[in-house]
Structures are given as structure tokens and as C-alpha cells.
């Protein structure tokens, strides 16, 4: 008997896997048939709105909701903050009001009398000295706004700096951004006796039911979480939020279904953000351009907790022999952070690869050669080296790179190119699967997973279709409910490995059971059997159709369950490297930076769906272009407000802003053999540094802080 080994087919031998396959739910999404939490509207649904605190720092002195209860259409009021409570940022929920219509809920909100004692605030995330000097009382006590996040040393930086041929000192930074999910956070809650049914906009279908237990006193087994579609999460939707609990409480009080979705400003103020990071960097190299020392102090904020980018990723990817690093967190009266696509990495890349590029310029070395020379200081030189070659070819780097500010220009428009490197884990999470092969030949797969827009549903179906040799339409995938076998949350690029691994293994096991039945029934050699094109084959002779084979399981479906994938199975792996190159055109009279082209070369092991994988990289590049050029949370120091918390002033790119995007997967056999690795985070890491480096190459000066707005570009040009 042929060895029955769990695994993927050799490279190039898959029928569906690795091909460009449209999302199985694409039509539903494009036609509006796909229902999101925000669409849940069964008869009797009440609409809830929040009263939030307009101040950055305040004490809630008194709260009177009686008049709100009497407002026409208002059905219930849920208090979320108590008098005496300290409010630590704008947008803090105070009261939720549920009413027959949204407008009545707004009338109810207006009838609430909430009195605040306004307290001094600090929101300037870049201003370390200001934070150190600020005199803010916190809950009646004087509070220090800065926190040491550690310092550590390797080698002898001082000696290395003395010996170095080139030393560069620079300041770099990246402001806070929000997740800007198209569908805001929120839920729709319905009680059926003791049972709570929630339509939750979540990245964590299997992990959220338990979060209702403590605040509501409901039994975990009585909570159903449902989320078929989600309009973006990016790391901000793993938890049941206090407004979701308030929504469920309002539903309990009224005996009616209640929907509570945050409005856009509140979404931006309180539903998560990516921490800022600013850094003073000293970096040095020898006469050959070999990096010998790194010394940095970085700071920033993640809101009330006062943290910033982790020390461990500094400097990013490169690990010079001599290195000092220090980090300081700033406590601000800004909304709290949440994981944002590749936590820590984009910021660390933005202050590392820019500093290295400045050092290269100082040493008079082409950025590409400089990075190539130093690859031995990285975690994955064998990946980056070929990827740099591929990217340089796709970008035509040799023709386009020029010493800083010396490119041929068309009048005030200057062009430049830049590059950066990144790495990410992307190993699989823990997911279980239930698989049924029905006697009619259809295959049904159930997992308590979710499709956060990446095509998870499609990829699961592809793996099963590949394994059984049947069309995609014969596979039904059930996800989006916690009543299916438990699956991990979708974050950190863990999903694709986490769901395809168990699906492949369990599908193979089911197929082998069917082969056993086929061998007996048709009297064929078991070791020769294969499933392909809707048939079972013995060598090159077809034995029976897939339907005939499936009917052998009897009157009921063949049902198998499978546990999480393990590293030993060889289906999945972790740790990838990517290279990105950017080309920009800078208008030196207006400071406007236009993207000309971006090249992303990425290693992700085995590519499951080439179309969706490429889409994922496009999305990452566009998000990267956003935070590089236009997107930032602007906190007004005077009022403490997130002053651009709206879709007009919070500037996101449109199709005309993104230029030409070129995506190439690095997939030699050596990497293919590692199996499936996640792709969500890696390509969003490098754009900041790559684009900033391209701008520096174009105009001859570094614009130190992202996003590279016309204001910052013109100020840097003026400074020279």
C-alpha cells in the first residue's frame, strides 16, 4: 500500500491550489446579498446610540438620564459611566440609549444631563520633553506621563562609533493612525429566554462568547456568536466591547433585538489605533558600508496605558554587533490602541530602514548595495538576497536610482526610488474542523472561523476540492458561528495556515477511507487510487465517479473531525521575508508626493490562492501608502480633541493616489516545501520606509516624520 502521508502535492502538481480563483462569496458581497452585523434588522429591532464624553480628560460630576427615559420612542437607557469617574480620553462612553428609531435615540441622548469637570490634558504624542515636563493630576494625584519601557545593550557602541568611518544621527517618526474599518465596531443582540444571540462584527467568532459571561451572568453555552461577513478588522475586533455588552443589556431590558454600531467619529476615537513612534537614532558603518553600531531612543504613545513600539524589534530586521536601545512610553489622553496589522513592525521598519538609508547616502553607497552588504545581519539573508534581485529588476532600480536629489527632473517634479525589508511570523493558529462527505458527493466543512475579507471561506473550499478532486461548487463551507468546531481568531497572519492545515489533513483522511471502500467494491489495487476531475482513478484507468465513490459511505455522511495543525505535519510553517521598492514623484513647489510605482516581493511558502494572495498584498500596499503619505490621527493640543475624526479630514488614498502596484511571490521549491504561511501582515510593514526613502532620494533631504504631507515635505525642503 502506498504511503498515506499527510501533506501537499509536489510543486506544480496541484489542480486548484495555487491558481487564481475568485472568491466563492464575491457575488454576494458585490450584490449586497452578504449581510454584515450592521445589516441585521429583524422586525422589532431597536437602535442604540452612545452619549460619549467630549473632553480629553475630565471627571464625570453628575449624570441625569430621567428626562431621556421620557423621550418619545426611547425604550431603555444603559448607564456606562458613574459620577465621580475619571474620563481618560474623548469619546469615552457615558450612556447608551435604545429607541424605536435612530432619531429618537438621538433625541434621548440630547435629553441626558451629563456634567463634567474638565481636567488638564496631554495629547502631543511626539513631544517627549513636554510629556516629561507636563503637570497633570490623574485621579487627584500628580501623575508622571512618561514610562521607561526598558533599555538594553549589546557589544560596545561607544567604541564602535569611535572606530566607524561614517556616523549618521537622525530623527524619525510615525504618527498614530486608526484602523478605519469600513464597517464600524458593534453588534446586534437578541435574547431568546436565557439564550443570547449576537451578530458581532468580529475577527474572533469562537473566542468571544465567553466574554459575555461575566458582565451579563449568562451561561457561555447559551451565547451564540454569528459573523458571516465583516467589513474590516485589521486587529481591532478580537473582543466583545463595553458597547456590545451595553447592547446586550439593552436587549435584555427591553425584550427586543437591539443594534448598536459606533458612529464614525466615535469609531475613530475609541475603537483602536496603531501607536505612534518617534526615534533619535545614531547608526554607523565602516569604510565598506558594513553596519557596526546602532544606538536609539524611541518614544510614542498608545493612549492611557503609555506604551509604544516594543524594544525587541529595534533596530528592525538588522542586528548589528554593537547596539543600544531605549524606549519610553508616553501616557496621553488619547484613545487606546489595539493591534493594527503587524503590531510594532511598520513603525520599527519606518525608523530603522530610513536611518540605514541615510547612512548609506552619507557613505555614498547605492541604497540597494548597502542593504545587500548587510544582509548577514538579518534573520533571513537567503530570502532577502534573491528577493532584492527580483525587486530591483521589476523596479528597474539600476536605471532609476541616483545619488540623492540628483535625478533628472521635469521642472519642479523630482523622482526617486527607495527600498525596505520586513519579516513576520505568520505561523498557524489552533483550529478544529468537522468534515462530512455526504453520500451525494457533496463535501461539507464546518469551522468556527471567520472570513475577515481575505478569502478564508474560498481557501478552505479550495483545499477540500483539491483533495477530493471535485469542483469548488461541490464543497460547502460553514464558518462564522461559534457553534461550529472551535477555531482561532483571525489575526497575525495565522488564519490561512490554521484553517488549511486541518482541512487538508482531515480531507486526506476522509479520502483514504473512501479509497478503502472503492478498492473493495470495484476490486482495484488500493495503492493505485487517486481522486481527480470528479473521478476515482486507478493509474490511468477511471474506476468510478466521485459520486459513486461517495455513495459507498452508506445512508449517512462520513464524518471526521480534526484538530489543530502541528509543525511536524509539514503542512504549514512560519517566518517570512519580504522586500519592497517604491518610486515616487515629488512636486517640490507644493510638497505633494505622488506614488509612481511599488514593487512587493514576498515569500509566503505555498500560495493557496494566487488571486486572493495578490489582492492581500495590494490591500497592504494601499494601507501602507495611506500611512506613508496622508493618513494620521491629528490630536489638537489645545482642545485635546481628535480633530480630524471624520472621513473628510482623515485622508485616505483613492485609486488615483496609489500608482502602479507590482506583486511577485518568491516561491522556489525550498520555500514551497515549507507549506502554507500567512500573508496578512508582512506586506504592510515596509511601505513607510520604502516610500520615505524614495522621497529622500528624489528631493535630496529626509522628511523625517510620516505621513509625508505637503507641509512636512515643504518644511524639510526649506530646512535643507
Amino acid at each position: 500500500m502506498a504511503e498515506r502521508k499527510v501533506g501537499w502535492e509536489p510543486q506544480g502538481q496541484h489542480t486548484i491550489i495555487g491558481k487564481e480563483v475568485q472568491r466563492t462569496d464575491g457575488k454576494q458581497k458585490a450584490s449586497g446579498q452578504a449581510k454584515y452585523s450592521n445589516d441585521a434588522n429583524p422586525p422589532g429591532t431597536l437602535f442604540a446610540k452612545l452619549l460619549t464624553c467630549p473632553h480629553a480628560h475630565a471627571k464625570l460630576v453628575s449624570l441625569d438620564v430621567e428626562k431621556a427615559k421620557a423621550v418619545k420612542g426611547v425604550k431603555a437607557v444603559q448607564i456606562m459611566a458613574e459620577p465621580g469617574q475619571e474620563i481618560r480620553h474623548e469619546g469615552w462612553p457615558i450612556v447608551a440609549v435604545a429607541a424605536e428609531r435612530r432619531e429618537y435615540a438621538e433625541d434621548g441622548i440630547r435629553a441626558i444631563i451629563a456634567k463634567f469637570e474638565v481636567l488638564p490634558h496631554f495629547v502631543d504624542e511626539a513631544d517627549l520633553k513636554g510629556a516629561e515636563a507636563a503637570e497633570i493630576t490623574d485621579g487627584g494625584m500628580p501623575a508622571k506621563l512618561t514610562k521607561s519601557l526598558g533599555t538594553n545593550k549589546k557589544g560596545d557602541v561607544e567604541a564602535a562609533l569611535k572606530e566607524a568611518r561614517h556616523v549618521h544621527k537622525g530623527y524619525y517618526g510615525v504618527h498614530t493612525i486608526t484602523h478605519m474599518c469600513l464597517e464600524p465596531h458593534g453588534s446586534h443582540a437578541t435574547w431568546d429566554g436565557d439564550k443570547l444571540n449576537v451578530e458581532l462584527s468580529t475577527q474572533n467568532v469562537s473566542g468571544t462568547a465567553g466574554q459575555y459571561v461575566k458582565p451579563l451572568g449568562v451561561d457561555a453555552a447559551n451565547v451564540s456568536i454569528h459573523c458571516d461577513f465583516i467589513g474590516g478588522g485589521f486587529g481591532s475586533k478580537f473582543a466583545v466591547d463595553e458597547w456590545d455588552v451595553a447592547c446586550a443589556k439593552l436587549a435584555k431590558t427591553t425584550g427586543r433585538p437591539v443594534r448598536l454600531m459606533l458612529d464614525r467619529p466615535t469609531e475613530m476615537q475609541i475603537a483602536g489605533n496603531r501607536p505612534s513612534a518617534f526615534a533619535d537614532v545614531t547608526v554607523a558603518c565602516d569604510a565598506n558600508g558594513k553596519i557596526t553600531a546602532w544606538d536609539s531612543h524611541h518614544w510614542g504613545t498608545n493612549g492611557p496605558k503609555g506604551s509604544t513600539v516594543a524594544l525587541s524589534v529595534t533596530p528592525y530586521v538588522f542586528d548589528p554587533p554593537n547596539r543600544n536601545r531605549t524606549a519610553t512610553g508616553i501616557i496621553t489622553h488619547c484613545g487606546p490602541d489595539r493591534a493594527w496589522r503587524a503590531p510594532n513592525h511598520p513603525q520599527a521598519c519606518a525608523y530603522t530602514d530610513t536611518a540605514l538609508d541615510d547612512l548609506a547616502a552619507k557613505a555614498g553607497i547605492d541604497s540597494l548595495s548597502f542593504f545587500q552588504k548587510n544582509l548577514d545581519l538579518t534573520n533571513l539573508p537567503h530570502i532577502y538576497a534573491p528577493e532584492l534581485e527580483i525587486a530591483a529588476k521589476l523596479m528597474d532600480w539600476k536605471a532609476k536610482w541616483h545619488p540623492r536629489g540628483q535625478g533628472a527632473g521635469e521642472g519642479p517634479i523630482k523622482r526617486g526610488v527607495g527600498l525596505a525589508l520586513h519579516t513576520w511570523g505568520g505561523g498557524p493558529h489552533q483550529s478544529n474542523v468537522q468534515l462530512k462527505v455526504h453520500p451525494d458527493g457533496t463535501v461539507e466543512i464546518s469551522m468556527g472561523s471567520q472570513d475577515i475579507g481575505t478569502g478564508t471561506r474560498t481557501c478552505i473550499a479550495m483545499v477540500a476540492a483539491e483533495t477530493f478532486g471535485i469542483p469548488l461548487t461541490s464543497v460547502k463551507v460553514n464558518i462564522g458561528s461559534n457553534k461550529y468546531p472551535q477555531a482561532g481568531p483571525s489575526g497575525g497572519s495565522t488564519t490561512i495556515g490554521g484553517v488549511t492545515g486541518p482541512t487538508r489533513r482531515t480531507s486526506q483522511q476522509a479520502l483514504w477511507k473512501i479509497f478503502d471502500l472503492v478498492a473493495v467494491k470495484y476490486n482495484v489495487d488500493l495503492t493505485t487510487l487517486a481522486a481527480k476531475g470528479g473521478k476515482i482513478w486507478s493509474g490511468d484507468k477511471d474506476v468510478c465517479t466521485w459520486k459513486q465513490a461517495a455513495s459507498l459511505v452508506g445512508p449517512m455522511a462520513l464524518e471526521l473531525t480534526g484538530g489543530p495543525v502541528t509543525e511536524e505535519e509539514g503542512l504549514t510553517s512560519k517566518q517570512v521575508g519580504g522586500v519592497q521598492m517604491a518610486e515616487v514623484a515629488v512636486d517640490t513647489e507644493t510638497g505633494i508626493v505622488k506614488m509612481v510605482k511599488m514593487v512587493a516581493v514576498q515569500d509566503i511558502g505555498l500560495v493557496v490562492n494566487r488571486l486572493l494572495a495578490r489582492s492581500q498584498v495590494y490591500g497592504a500596499l494601499i494601507m501602507g501608502i495611506a500611512y506613508s503619505l496622508s493618513e494620521e490621527r491629528i490630536m489638537d493640543n489645545k482642545t485635546g480633541k481628535f480633530i480630524n475624526a471624520n472621513s473628510t479630514d482623515y485622508k485616505l488614498p483613492r485609486i488615483g493616489d496609489i500608482g502602479d502596484l507590482v506583486v511577485e511571490f518568491y516561491e522556489p521549491e525550498s520555500e514551497y516545501k515549507r507549506g502554507v504561511i500567512g500573508l496578512g501582515e508582512p506586506p504592510v510593514i515596509a511601505p513607510g520606509a520604502a516610500i520615505s526613502n524614495a522621497v529622500a532620494n528624489a528631493i535630496g533631504v529626509r522628511v523625517p516624520v510620516l505621513p509625508l504631507t505637503p507641509k512636512r515635505v515643504l518644511e524639510s525642503l526649506k530646512k535643507g
Binding site: E103, E106, D107, E410, G411, P412, I413, D587, E589, T590, G591, I592, S630, I634, D636, N637, K638, T639, K641, I643, N644, N646, T648, D649, K651, P653, R654, I655, G656, D657, T709, P710, K711, L714, E715
Partner: protein
């Protein structure tokens, strides 16, 4: 959004009457901004008067000495109208709006009356954004605020996209109300005011009044262009803009009118810069001198010095574009 009455007049007189009957009203034209203002409760009218059913406000007609445009003419219709084909600076604005949704529903009158985008105003601090006697834009984040005409309490910038181009053409507006049959024509330049108080508003419109028409002089052989400095390629507001209308004879400028937008609480007429150009050829050098002159008296605030450069560039590029000499 607070509840309000909805009125739909079918004649100009009826509109004026509807506006005069209640204390607080809002005028609905294309609604591209009013709906946001209502939702945010920045305006809370007792009555919204929808002008869309008034036929006279949708007309573009040839009159003796020029063209008369109804205030409800949409951006899209403006760009398509054969009578307007020689007013290039207006098309530049329509193009710059980019979003077909706004082009299709936004109106000329609505744009002229667009309330400021100042983020303090939009965060409910009032037009002047004063708190405890202190100017918030002055003390806070003024990166998008005024660099000219900002010595008083008003620090916002006028939001109209068309006003610079129209003023550079010498446009007049017809204001009707508040009394029935009351109508007055005045130069658009004088329509805008720099308020000293929140109650004053940023135009001369009093309760019960509205713009019914815009008049443009014959285009003749004049050349024109608008240049808006916009960071994004999609829907975005200019950080600075300039419009120029020029009379060129054998390459020599005989007449020039330059107006800047988004740099002051009102559209900013650059008289001295315009005057300097008379008798000069139009080229990179003369355009640069005019542009420098246009911003000589700029008084940038703590965070917006860069806008001086943007305004300078807008003037230079509008001039070169009007004469088809755009470098970019």
C-alpha cells in the same frame, strides 16, 4: 439629526415666503454638505427649504451683456453647457471636484454658500472658534487655516471652490428676499465678509435671503484658469487655490485678475499682483513675480507657513495654465 419641517417651494417668491415664516431655516440646494451639517447638528433649522423644484434656478441663459446662471445649476450641467464653454477656469474647478456624485448633485449656489471646513467650526466651536476669549485656531492646530486676512478673530478659510474663478471673471450675484419681490445684484467679491462675531456669518446673506443667480460678463477672448493645490487625487479640499482671468494681446497682458482661494476668510483678490502684470509678457518669470507679490503680505500662523508657498505656487500655475504654459 433634529426634526425639522420640510418645505418645497416652486417659485422664487414662494421660497422667500417660506424662508420668512420661521425663525431658523436652512436652504437645501444639492445637499452635499447640508446633510452632514444636519447630522452633526451644526445647523438645527426649524425648517429646511428645498429649492430644487424652482425652474428659474436651473436655467443658464444668454443675457445682453453676459450669461446668467441659476444657483441650482449642478456642477455637471455647468461643465456641459454650451454657453459656458469659454469659461475654462470654471471647468478646472468642476474637474477638481472629481467625485461624480458631488458633480452630479452639487450646485453652484451651494458651493458659493458652503460653510467653512475649519475643524473647530465643524467640532461645534462656532465660526470664530473662540473659547474663553481665546482663539482656538490661534492656540491650537491651524495647519489648514488662513494666511491672509487673519488679523481679526476669523481664522477659517473660505470654502468656496468657484468663488475665486467667478470673482476673477467679475461675476455678480443676485440676492433675493427677505421682502417679497426684493432682489439685488452685487459683485460676488462683496458677497463675502470676514466676521467679527459668530452671529455675523461669512456672507452678507441675512435670514430670508438666498442667491438666485450668478451673472458672468461675456467671455470675449479672455483666457482663464484655476489651479487648486490638492494633496489627494480623490475627493479632497484644496489647501490653496488661485484663479486668473487674462486678456492677452500678441503675448502681452492687457488685463489681469487674480483671486486666491482657501487662504483667507474670504476669497482673496490679489490686486497688486494683477496690476504688476499689465503690459508684461506672460512667462515663468513674470508669473513668479506676480505670485511672490500675491503672498507678500501673508501673515501665516504657527503651523501654516507652508501654505504661503502653496498659495504662491497656485498663483503662478494658474497664470501659466491660463496662457497654456503649464509646466506640470
Amino acid at each position: 439629526m433634529k426634526s425639522f419641517e420640510y418645505a418645497r417651494p416652486e417659485t422664487e417668491a414662494e421660497a422667500v415666503a417660506f424662508l420668512g415664516e420661521v425663525e431658523s431655516t436652512a436652504i437645501l440646494a444639492g445637499g452635499t454638505d447640508l446633510t452632514s451639517l444636519l447630522r452633526a447638528e451644526l445647523v438645527t433649522p426649524a425648517r429646511v427649504v428645498d429649492l430644487k423644484r424652482i425652474p428659474s434656478l436651473h436655467e443658464v441663459t444668454k443675457v445682453d451683456d453676459g450669461i446668467q446662471i441659476g444657483s441650482l445649476v449642478t456642477l455637471e450641467d455647468l461643465a456641459k453647457h454650451s454657453l459656458l464653454s469659454n469659461y475654462r477656469s470654471l471647468f478646472d474647478v468642476v474637474d477638481g471636484v472629481r467625485a461624480i456624485q458631488v458633480q452630479g448633485s452639487g450646485t453652484l449656489g451651494g458651493d458659493l454658500c458652503h460653510l467653512p471646513n475649519c475643524w473647530y467650526f465643524r467640532s461645534r466651536y462656532g465660526l470664530l472658534a473662540m473659547e474663553n476669549g481665546e482663539s482656538l485656531p490661534e492656540a491650537g492646530d491651524n495647519r489648514y487655516h488662513a494666511i491672509l486676512g487673519n488679523s481679526g478673530p476669523a481664522k477659517f478659510v473660505n470654502a468656496s471652490r468657484f468663488a475665486p474663478a467667478l470673482i476673477a471673471w467679475g461675476a455678480h450675484v443676485r440676492v433675493i428676499g427677505p421682502a417679497p419681490e426684493q432682489a439685488e445684484w452685487l459683485p460676488l467679491e462683496y458677497f463675502y465678509v470676514t466676521p467679527r462675531s459668530n452671529a455675523q456669518g461669512n456672507t452678507i446673506l441675512k435670514p430670508g435671503q438666498l442667491i438666485s443667480h450668478v451673472w458672468l460678463p461675456d467671455a470675449g477672448r479672455l483666457a482663464s484658469a484655476t489651479y487648486e493645490v490638492m494633496q489627494m487625487e480623490g475627493l479632497d479640499w484644496p489647501m490653496a487655490s488661485a484663479a486668473a482671468t487674462l486678456k492677452l494681446e500678441s503675448g502681452i497682458i492687457r488685463q489681469a485678475s487674480i483671486v486666491m482661494g482657501h487662504v483667507a476668510p474670504v476669497p482673496w483678490v490679489a490686486q497688486e499682483a494683477s496690476r504688476l502684470l499689465i503690459g508684461q509678457p506672460l512667462n515663468e518669470e513674470t508669473a513668479s513675480v506676480a505670485a511672490d507679490t500675491a503672498v507678500t503680505r501673508a501673515t501665516p500662523m504657527s503651523m501654516n507657513e507652508y501654505k504661503v508657498q502653496l498659495a504662491r505656487t497656485a498663483v503662478k500655475r494658474a497664470l501659466l495654465k491660463a496662457a497654456d504654459q503649464s509646466p506640470v
